[in-house]
Symmetry: C2
């Protein structure tokens, strides 16, 4: 009997349940420069929460602080339910290898009750997914797992800094379609991973690669599992921008949209750079 | 001999050092509707970190998850240094009353080394502070501790919903000057508190008060203590906006600017509402 193999993303973010201590392992498929792709780490943490027998409701927010590099191989996830009430749960997860904590995360899960809805944000206009060429210059393994289609500000990190606006630097803004390379239905796990799938803003602005690492990543979920099931999509439209780079740290803020125009998630991160 | 009395804000956010367990207490001066002003709680947590003997560097990011109401009175702060390396520190703080955890926070401190600087964000144009009338309709005690001067979208929460744009709702965007009512030099503590000093976006959008509570707040600091000392300011220009309200939760994103045009902090939060 044929069984459908797992999607690479699901293999990469697999966790084995423990009591309070769960286990995961890094994936070569989602490897970055000096460690696993931060989005895969964040999604693995989120998966441990979603699959936790005490979990109730949908992810509302996840903040992941990357404390130290994660080495290739297995890691432990210490999962703690900090506080629960009728409609929400507060979680804390520590990812460790041996005695070394590499990542600490806090999350809130919530029962998303029907309410007044209003979406002041404007859907970014974009050339349709099918009409945009996929990005083909991926070097890092994790980038190869995504189908990135840049609508605006396709990165050109090998050209050196251009002086194409009055600041002397290129724009920090990017608009792109993003899906898993092997199509996979968008769920909270892939939203979490994709919220870290933008290239470093500084690469866009300076049009060159510099040493770079995300320090803290926060994603808010504006759609629950029912909403995502109704969207039934395998790619989304994403925008990202930066506000400032100063004294070795810069920010990023992003939005993840369904093709139909629903804002599914917002995300922000602060990252180290050397430049 | 005359001693200068503490600023109310410093009294409100005072902490008493312990070993890993510190103590604070709620302040009637910074009380909100059903508990302390979340910005004061966040600033108290940040103060425990800044005053911690092991603290090194400047605050880079603080995320505060509000798990349960904090009752009037004392609370414990369980402060843990999760990981430190040469240039950064990762902290976790749990605020508890008895056995009940009411708040959990994670923070990163960093040595802010000189680097390339670039500020793509545009300084919001505004009528100067001195030419704007202070907001005088404060009801909650904490609001009275601030000098709020609305440049755009002065809240009018008693008028009921107006249909003054095509969505049928008012704008979620606000621009205001903000300082402590008794002027106090802006530091990381006041930046932290002021990043929660915007009124709920839903109050602006619906132009009415509804049950509301911040669930998670994240602030990134783009200026270190030296930068803030050089600015030497007692008020700042702040903008806030929202992107979506859906199934009982809505977001907020904000920027805190020095009057001279430096982006000091960016902030985002997700909040519960009933509407």
């Amino acid at each position: 009997m044929l069984t459908k193999p797992n999607h690479l993303f699901d293999d990469a973010t697999r966790v084995e349940a423990g009591d309070s201590r769960w286990q995961g392992r890094t994936s070569p498929d989602y490897w970055a420069f000096v460690g696993p792709f931060g989005g895969a780490t964040a999604a693995t943490i989120l998966r441990a929460l979603i699959e936790h027998p005490q979990a109730s409701g949908d992810p509302l927010t996840l903040t992941v602080n990357y404390c130290a590099p994660i080495a290739e191989g297995p890691f432990d996830l210490d999962v703690r339910l900090i506080k629960a009430n009728r409609s929400s749960q507060h979680w804390c997860v520590e990812l460790a290898q041996g005695a070394q904590i590499a990542t600490i995360a806090t999350a809130v899960f919530a029962e998303r009750r029907a309410s007044w809805s209003h979406q002041p944000a404007t859907f970014p206009q974009a050339t349709p997914f099918a009409q945009v060429q996929p990005y083909s210059k991926a070097v890092a393994p994790w980038v190869k797992q995504y189908d990135l289609r840049f609508v605006e500000d396709r990165p050109d990190v090998r050209s050196g800094t251009k002086t194409d606006n009055k600041s002397g630097f290129a724009s920090a803004f990017t608009k792109l379609w993003i899906g898993d390379r092997a199509p996979r239905k968008i769920d909270a796990l892939s939203l979490m991973a994709m919220s870290d799938a933008f290239f470093g803003r500084i690469f866009h602005v300076r049009q060159e690669m510099v040493p770079f690492g995300t320090v803290s990543l926060t994603t808010y979920f504006h759609a629950d599992a029912d909403d995502l099931a109704k969207e039934d999509i395998t790619h989304l439209l994403a925008v990202a921008d930066a506000k400032t780079f100063h004294k070795s740290y810069g920010d990023q803020n992003g939005e993840l949209w369904s093709p139909a125009g629903r804002l599914l998630a917002t995300t922000t991160q602060i990252a180290y750079f050397k430049a």
